[in-house]
Symmetry: C2
Subunit: 210 residues, 2 copies
């Protein structure tokens, strides 16, 4: 499946100022988000499924792909468009075997070696992370930076989204350096005016691509 | 797939006195365990997969079925024999759809209504719980008791294993009351001599069946 990675929203309930994922996503779609990853690290399976199912309905109506973080069982249950797996999640070859050839599989990478391995293993896109160190993942203290994007871009052919403290101020440069899209958590979900926040980042991505 | 539910071991790393799941299971198999459920509530996906894969190899060699608790993605990844789902896990109809007709699906039930719904929904067996209140799940304070087994037995045709403080002292009566097998955690994994502990429970189950 072809996807537009320009503005890739990753949910985070805890950072959403008390708003539901559904409300956050709806407002973000109005601002031009092109793809949504549902990330739930604390829900039980049935709650995660019910949440994913609601979001699936909304996104289907808007023709926006839904990616599930980590949990292939949830992705299968709601017939999501794909999964995003980290280096500590399901091995890529097994994820592909379980999901089949048509689902999107994205893989988090930090190094050129990881990027090449993910591409060779059949990933559809890379989540390059962290471009900048972020308060969402304080355990990561090394960052890729704008200067680290180009070597990864030159090493692989598949789309790359950058994640980690990305926002309207750094999106232009990052896309110019080779990203296909900007993935964001706080810069959208933690903003009072989600639609405007999304719109501002999207404008920078399009200006850089343009 | 037909399975022998006589002595059903559910793993619990925390109760295993520092021994690995693999060591616990190996010793328990020597004592006559007929089926193993791998239950991991705190491992990340890749760790869970790696753990399940090791146990899969051991059990395959012994021709003992492996059931994965809750996580259908892990079950698919290691080609386990089935999954066990609680009332808060994946809805049964979806679990069946994802796993196909041949995998074993067990469902935890407490009431007659849940038992009937699980049977009607295509469950292969029921985990009736808690027969007695157990230190493993202190949040449950109502128990089925020996006297509660028969009404469930009369309500459904599929095999029923009882779980919750089951041991060599109550296994005979519980099987006599209608259970097809005894599922245990602490009464095996927390014992110093796992093989003897398993053997003692197995003997009671066989005595009641025989």
């Amino acid at each position: 499946m072809k996807a537009d990675y320009s503005l890739y929203l990753v949910t985070d309930r805890k950072l959403s100022l008390g708003r539901s994922n559904l409300d956050v996503i709806e407002a973000a779609l109005d601002g031009g988000v092109t793809l949504v990853q549902l990330r739930e690290k604390e829900l039980g399976t049935q709650e995660f499924y019910l949440e994913a199912n609601k979001i699936r309905e909304l996104l289907k109506a808007r023709q926006i792909p839904l990616i599930i973080n980590d949990r292939i069982d949830i992705a299968l249950a709601v017939d999501a468009d794909g999964v995003h797996i980290g280096q500590e999640d399901m091995p890529l070859d097994l994820a592909r075997k379980i999901l089949g050839p048509d689902k999107i599989i994205g893989v988090s990478v930090f190094t050129i070696e990881e990027a090449r391995a993910a591409e060779a293993g059949g990933a559809d896109y890379l989540g390059l992370s962290p471009i900048f160190v972020t308060s969402t993942k304080p355990e990561l203290n090394k960052q890729i930076g704008i200067e680290g994007i180009r070597p990864i871009r030159q090493a692989v052919k598949i789309p790359i989204v950058g994640i980690g403290a990305m926002n309207a101020n750094n999106a232009f440069e990052a896309v110019k350096a080779g990203l296909d899209g900007i993935a964001v958590v706080s810069a959208i979900v933690a903003q009072k005016d989600i639609t405007s926040a999304a719109r501002a980042i999207k404008a920078e991505v399009l200006r850089a691509k343009g």
